[in-house]
Symmetry: C2
Subunit: 146 residues, 2 copies
Amino acid sequence: MKYSKATNYALHTIVYLALLPPGKTIGVKPLAEAQKVSPTYLSKVLTKLVKSGFIESGTGVNGGYQLIKDAKDITFLDIIHAIEGTTSLFNCGLDHTIHDRQNCFIEKVMNEAEQKMEDYLRSQTIEHILQKVDKNIVNRIRSVVN
Amino acid sequence: MKYSKATNYALHTIVYLALLPPGKTIGVKPLAEAQKVSPTYLSKVLTKLVKSGFIESGTGVNGGYQLIKDAKDITFLDIIHAIEGTTSLFNCGLDHTIHDRQNCFIEKVMNEAEQKMEDYLRSQTIEHILQKVDKNIVNRIRSVVN
DNA sequence: CTAATTAAAGACTTCGTGAATCTATAATAT
DNA sequence: ATATTATAGATTCACGAAGTCTTTAATTAG
Ligand code: SF4
Ligand code: SF4
């Protein structure tokens, strides 16, 4: 029971992109280097973010990635869902001819718990985060990005 | 990103045991049958619950399992932790010589979110659940158990 | 037009872990 | 002594995460 590494890469990359000067793009190579992951693999992750509409990609010279959604409109939950999918953490794979699933008590608790987590992840946007981040970390990231 | 089936088995078994007449034990076979899982595998799961102090096991004739903690003192989180462990869902496996982990913004959000889920799971006890459960489901379970 | 650049896509490999089985071994009651 | 029951160990199987390699497609610079 763990978040995948892909989610980690996605979150970090979004932060990197959010710190780019508006309009500027960045290729997968520096992003991969900064996170110590192979470019081809990171590219697969980023493609999911493209398909989900958070970032845009361009081919050829001066191609690369850039944010196309405002940082204040991107929540942690958005990114996680884009990578991990949206199926719930708990599901009794059991045969439901046995009894009525409607008033299932276990499932209800487990799903409600997951909702609590999702509510919080939905409340935290990337912008919200950028405001908190230490200035010297920002500079360090910017130095990677430029 | 899913809870393991073992967690499912553990939760259901605890409910079964909670509906047993006090002092009475039940073997792994009927429990496994009710959940359509192999006895040997379920036994491995239950051993974890024994080691965690929720249930007790006895060998030989009239052996089997029984609850030794009051249902009101067993939370969902307890059971989940006993099976899944207690490591957090998110951890950047990254090299932390790069920057200060103390003011890490991503980790902070992810862990806080997990806390929200755990808070709820900690608030829900087995007893709390037994009160809500439909009477005919109780009877059905009792028929399995007896 | 051509060559260089860059992302996307597909096939494939590797690795770890969940899930499960089988086979002992130990403990206990009758 | 024998039947019963849980525990432990070794082992197998399947699946998905993680990553590599190669090809294709799109775009820009010259
Ligand atoms: S009680 Fe809930 S989780 Fe269990 S089998 Fe029924 S529907 Fe599924
Ligand atoms: S920003 Fe946080 S999650 Fe990312 S590498 Fe630093 S400590 Fe780890």
